[in-house]
């Protein structure tokens, strides 16, 4: 099989619900299994009926790979494994395996307890699902089966985020998940080998953005928070429990210390401490700087940041609150938002991307009146700030990654269609490679071309190489030599060996075909004189062949061509004989002798 087939079930010209089907060398791999946060109906999960109309998915998939713990990449996993049915291997990194079930449980609670949804997966399903997960380390080559191999690379998007290389034989695909090419306060930058995959499937959230320096954005953020609390306002920062939250906490913690501020900072309780514990235990996955200093001071122990209690919402005076979830679609952050939205002194800072349909998305689009449940309209008076702290690669970062791994084709996913077009043109122009951007449910077929690895016998290799480079010139590595051999195929084994050896091995009997022709000439003089003449002629015409004059008066050329002269003083018979292997040489020589001696 020489083609790759890729079908996005989610994240095709869209953000959210990442789920991509890949067929490589006859193996089917699912890349991510996310849910869409903007929908409450069946559209929130990928359409698994695409894989199989009914029954379990196990026999249709060889493995599932989860890139990181964000719900738009792993949110549909328990639904798929437990409610649709999948018992095959699932791969993710250690931190993802640790954190993912917590976020799934958190989401489940919001969906079931708060929104009263039924037909949602249960806590037990999350547990059984996670038991199917195999945790992987970075750079480890993992053999899924005899042919399918995967390898994780650091992606730097959140703790434990990874890019995955999927390989079957010569064919390979890299799936980036979400990644970040600039190191931030707690994570390092994504990096990959020059692995030259046939296809790079990259996210393109910020396909058209070139972001200004991180430092400026951080200063901006701190200034906005500081100004607001100085005027007595309250700052709400909706975050997800893990990831951005830790980075912003480190940022505020150091700023508060430096400026000696006393305004309280709160973090919605529950997940906080546990979340920070994960960062402490998985510190090898954070940035170099944090790793280096963790023995002396653990960056994830905060002095200024305290736990939040629901009753604090009505507290007077300024404060800064980190609350979950990050897109203001449910939970505590939405509750606080509703309480504070009507006061223009207050501020909400959205530090990440919000999918369509969420309150976060609406206010970011400038909507000032928002319909809440029971047709109640909410007047949004507080200041709405958007700060792109989201750790995605920008256009420049995506180009850098392409340069790093040198793919033969690129596919864009996890972005908006219009922006993808722009980046696609740019990639095709700059790297001169094909770029694909299939929509959901659309299949991209990508042809791949590969050399075929075979085993060559060392004897043949050495002999052929020494034959071509003549004794006078030393072998030149730059000048290729010509190699002739027999390629024997037995089952899956390919061996390039000496032809004679191959015939013996296969029990083939070579047919020995010999030609003998006579050229009769009338030439005076002794036989030896004619032989001499022919010898000189042959030598001059066949410079690249060994021509030998033997004692019995015959001439041999190359391996099998034999010339014998007989006759008397007046006329001579020249016998030319050659085997089939030297057919061309023999017939050529015959023609020369005929034309140059008889005329």
């Amino acid at each position: 099989m020489t083609e790759l087939r890729v079908t996005p079930l989610g994240a095709g010209q869209d953000v959210g619900r990442s789920c991509i089907l890949l067929t490589i060398g006859g193996k089917n791999v699912m890349l991510d299994c996310g849910m869409h946060m903007g929908y409450n109906d069946e559209r929130r999960f990928p359409d698994f009926s695409y894989i199989a109309r009914e029954g379990k998915l196990t026999e249709h998939l060889d493995c599932v790979i989860i890139s990181h713990f964000h719900l738009d990449h792993c949110g549909a996993l328990p639904y798929m494994t437990e409610m649709i049915g999948y018992d095959g291997p699932i791969y993710m990194t250690h931190p993802t395996k640790a954190i993912c079930p917590i976020l799934l449980e958190d989401m489940r609670k919001i969906a079931v307890d708060r929104k009263g949804e039924t037909n949602f997966f249960t806590s037990d399903m999350i547990k059984t699902c996670m038991k199917k997960v195999i945790a992987v380390n970075l750079h480890q080559n993992i053999q899924v089966d005899d042919e399918l191999e995967i390898k994780a690379y650091y992606a730097g998007h959140v703790l434990g985020a990874a890019m995955f290389e999927v390989r079957v034989g010569q064919q390979s695909v890299v799936y980036t998940g979400d990644y970040n090419m600039t190191p931030d306060r707690h994570l390092g930058a994504a990096s990959i080998d020059k692995c030259r995959p046939d296809l790079l499937i990259t996210e393109s959230t910020y396909a058209t953005t070139i972001r200004d320096s991180k430092r400026c954005r951080e200063r901006d953020f701190l200034k906005k928070v500081h100004d607001c609390v100085e005027k007595g306002g309250k700052v709400l920062i909706p975050v997800f429990a893990l990831g951005r939250a830790q980075e912003l906490c480190i940022l505020l913690e150091t700023y508060w210390e430096r400026m000696n501020l006393k305004v309280p900072i709160y973090f919605s309780l529950g997940l906080t401490e546990k979340a920070n514990n994960y960062y402490k235990l998985f510190i090898t996955w954070t940035s170099q700087k944090i790793k280096k200093t963790f023995v002396e001071r653990n960056m994830f122990e905060f002095n200024h940041i305290k736990g939040f209690d629901r009753s604090y919402i009505e507290n007077p005076g300024p404060m800064v609150v980190f609350a979950t979830p990050g897109m203001l679609h449910a939970g505590l952050s939405l509750q606080i938002f509703k309480a504070w939205a009507t006061n223009e002194l207050n501020m909400v800072i959205m530090p990440g991307y919000c999918v369509a349909g969420t309150v976060g998305h609406k206010i970011l689009n400038g909507q000032r009146k928002i319909e809440m449940e029971n047709k109640h309209m909410l007047d949004v008076k507080l200041s709405v700030q958007y700060m792109s702290f989201s750790a995605h690669a920008d256009a420049k970062g995506i180009m850098t990654l392409i340069g790093q791994c040198e793919p033969k084709n690129v596919m864009l996913v996890h972005g908006e269609g219009g922006k993808m077009e722009f980046l696609k043109t740019k990639i095709e122009k700059e790297f001169n490679i094909n770029c694909y951007m299939p929509a959901n449910g659309e299949t991209a077929e990508i042809e791949t071309k590969h050399n075929i690895p075979v085993d060559i016998s060392l004897n043949l290799l050495k002999r052929e190489c020494s034959l071509t480079s003549s004794a006078l010139e030393p072998p030149d590595a730059k000048r290729p030599c010509v190699l002739h051999g027999a390629l024997v195929m037995k089952g899956n084994k390919l061996q390039l060996i000496d032809p004679a050896h191959a015939f013996r091995e296969l029990g083939l009997e070579e047919h020995h075909l010999r030609f003998t022709c006579t050229v009769s000439i009338d030439e005076e003089g002794p036989v030896t004189q004619t032989v001499d003449k022919i010898y000189q002629l042959t030598k001059s015409k066949l410079k690249n062949y060994p021509v030998q004059y033997s004692n019995d008066g015959s001439i041999t050329v190359s391996e099998s061509v034999l010339i014998k002269v007989s006759g008397d003083e007046e006329s001579k018979d020249i016998l030319v004989s050659w085997s089939y292997q030297d057919e061309e040489l023999g017939s050529y020589l015959l023609q020369i002798l005929r034309t140059s001696l008889t005329t």
């Binding site: 402490k280 235990l281 075929i452 085993d455 060559i456 027999a486 003998t516 017939s587």
Partner: protein, 655 residues
């Protein structure tokens, strides 16, 4: 294939392997048993090891050794060198270090000589190891340097080790070997510079080395991030087994499957205490500790800052709890104790399943984190930091296990005078009686409970049987019973035929005959191939291409246009490289029929018994067909010959 052994201690290995044009160094262990010859460095500057005094050799001896006696001190009837510590580094003169392409480090104990190579030689290759091996290795190095530098000795003793002096010194000094090659300890700067050159690699990660071979570390179960190495080309496989344990302790278990069916298996780092069972020893260690504490005595445990020490904390704390001694404090002294404890908690990926699963809760994988928070285990950088806090009775874990440096020296002197106290030796690297030499006589109880989790001989023999290598290479010392148990013939490596053996300075030629190399056939050339099935499941095709080599990878490409196409011929007028082959025996009647179709008339066939003779009188041609050979004697026109040729070929199989 060649293997050079550079180390004199198979438990601190260092090899150089020449394989397929690549030169690899396997491990870089530092044998520091020679530290026994030096006088311990006191903890408090100015004080001397109490019993040491100048050595006064007899008159005759003095004549022979000259001033050298001034470098030697006498202590409890033994002689010790009073000078800067020196390290017995691997034999580096017999290999060209600038030619080494890569150094593969198996675990944290096999990295200690690395700075001598990266900082003081022409080495310019890569160094590969796992992250825990690097971090723990760094701790070992830093601890060593700290101990050596803390109360530095300024005098460098050189006279005693000259050969003509050495031979006149009493044993055990005179038995010291290679003394002239000993080097001073490296510095903190050397460590940082050296370790910044290391490339980290994960278990089962395939690391390509110059396109020629692929090196992969696989878990060896010995310590955090410890590995064995699989070094492979497409057709040959060499496995290097370094520190390995099949016991269940804290590290990730040994991965055996990738080591199977190798051409060569190199075995090092077997147990240094073949007579002791580590499980029994750890039990004895706990019991002895508890008994001493119950009687109001203190327990001193000389140890390294990582490795088995973590298991000692775990087992001992549980045992003390059982004995109702949970209130007894454990003190852990090492300049790197902070790092040693902190790092152990962040290497979840490298731990046993049960420890690993704890981080998902999220809890610290090792119980010592909780012991610390309960105040049962307290760690200090040095004696000076702990002064006011010591509560007796207590257990002190302190380095260095050689008893020649570190805070342990102080405790041996302090507690050695009282018979209620106990010192328990658990590290197998140093003979305990020699370690105690300069402190003798001591009143405290001395226990020897060596815990070496490395493979013992029966485990190693079982492993080799399972791995089934073609050739086995082991230390010479593994083929004879150990000196202290010379009748225990079971304590040897048992292998038929007898294995290749190595010892320091030896160069082994290994009989690995390469038969195949790997070559890639270009996709364009491959597309043109037309394989012919000649037997069920076997096909063959002739292939001619130009062979290119780049980065040690062979690629067979289509011949360049001017050579391949018939249009432009070489100056002899030929397509030089196109050969074809014919097979089988023709059916005479078919042959005749085909010739007739070609317009050849008057064909006479004569049976000769073994074959046939065909006359073509009109064309002055005679054809002798005899099974698998045919001779066409054609006196006629060239076009006739071609017709006959093509007719015959039609009756045969052709490639």
């Amino acid at each position: 294939m060649k293997l050079v052994c550079l180390s004199s201690n198979p438990s601190k290995p260092c090899f150089v392997l020449y394989f397929k044009g690549v030169t690899l160094m396997l491990d870089c262990g530092l044998d520091i048993t020679q530290l026994q010859h030096f006088l311990p460095i006191p903890v408090v500057p100015g004080t001397q090891i109490s019993k040491a005094r100048s050595w006064t050799p007899g008159f005759e001896k003095k004549n022979k050794i000259g001033d050298a006696y001034q470098e030697v001190k006498e202590c409890s009837g033994r002689l010790f060198i009073d000078g800067c510590f020196e390290m017995a580094i691997p034999e580096l003169e017999i290999v060209d270090l600038s030619q080494i392409d890569a150094i593969l480090i198996s675990n944290s104990t096999c990295i200690l000589a690395l700075p001598y190579i990266t900082e003081y030689t022409g080495f310019k290759g890569h160094v590969y190891t796992t992250e825990p091996a690097l971090q723990v290795g760094r701790m070992y190095m830093e601890e060593l340097v700290k101990y050596v530098e803390r109360n530095p000795r300024t005098n460098i003793a050189t006279k005693w080790k000259q050969e003509e002096v050495l031979m006149h010194l009493p044993a055990p000094l005179k038995d010291a070997v290679n003394t002239l090659k000993w080097k001073q300890c490296y510095t903190k700067h050397d460590i940082d510079s050296c370790l910044s050159k290391v490339t980290l690699i994960g278990f089962n990660q395939k690391m390509d080395i110059y396109g020629s071979v692929e090196a992969t570390p696989v878990s060896s179960g010995y310590s955090l991030g410890s590995s064995n190495w699989v070094i492979k080309s497409t057709h040959e496989k060499v496995c290097y087994v370094s520190g390995t344990s099949t016991l269940t302790t804290h590290p990730k278990p040994m991965d055996q499957a990738p080591l199977r069916n190798s051409d060569v298996l190199i075995l090092s780092c077997l147990t240094q205490t073949p007579l002791a069972n580590p499980d029994t020893m750890i039990g004895e260690f706990c019991v002895n500790t508890a008994v001493t504490l119950k009687n109001g005595g203190n327990v001193l445990v000389p140890c390294y800052p990582s490795g088995v020490t973590y298991d000692l904390f775990e087992c001992l704390s549980a045992h003390l709890e059982q004995c109702g001694l949970a209130g007894i404090p454990m003190y852990f002294l090492s300049p790197v104790s902070d790092s040693a404890l902190a790092y152990s908690n962040i290497f979840a990926e490298w731990l046993s399943q049960s420890k690993q699963s704890k981080v998902y809760l999220p809890e610290c994988p090792f119980p010592h984190a909780e012991l610390q928070s309960q105040g049962r285990l307290k760690n200090f950088k040095s004696l000076h930091d702990m002064n006011l806090e010591v509560k007796t009775p207590c257990v002190v874990f302190a380095g260095h296990p050689s008893l020649r440096m570190g805070d342990v020296v102080h405790f041996v002197e302090l507690w050695g005078k009282h018979s209620a106290n106990t010192i328990i030796f658990t590290e197998p690297d140093f003979p305990y009686l020699e370690a105690l030499g300069p402190f003798q006589p001591v009143a405290m109880r001395v226990c020897y409970c060596p815990i070496d989790t490395s493979l013992n001989f029966s485990q190693a023999n079982k492993l080799i049987k399972d791995l089934r290598p073609l050739h086995l290479v082991v230390a010479e010392s593994y083929t004879v019973p150990p000196i202290m148990a010379s009748r225990r013939t079971d304590l040897v490596i048992d292998w038929e035929p007898s294995p290749f053996t190595y010892k320091r300075g030896q160069v082994l030629s290994l009989p690995v005959k390469r038969k195949f190399e790997s070559v890639e056939i270009d996709s364009e050339l491959a597309a043109k191939m037309e394989p012919v099935e000649v037997k069920a499941g076997s096909a063959i095709t002739m292939i001619t291409g130009s062979l290119n080599v780049r980065d040690n990878v062979y690629i067979l490409k289509p011949l360049q246009k001017e050579v391949a196409s018939g249009q432009k011929r070489s100056h002899d007028g030929f397509e030089v490289h196109k050969k074809s082959y014919i097979f089988g025996s023709p059916n005479i009647q078919t042959f005749v029929d085909v010739m007739t179709q070609q317009g050849i008339s008057s064909i006479k066939v004569e049976d000769t018994g073994s074959g046939s003779i065909i006359h073509l009188p009109n064309d002055e041609t005679l054809i002798q067909v005899d099974g698998d050979s045919t001779h066409i004697i054609c006196e006629g026109d060239e076009s006739i010959r071609v017709k006959i040729r093509d007719s015959l070929i039609k009756c045969l199989k052709r490639l």
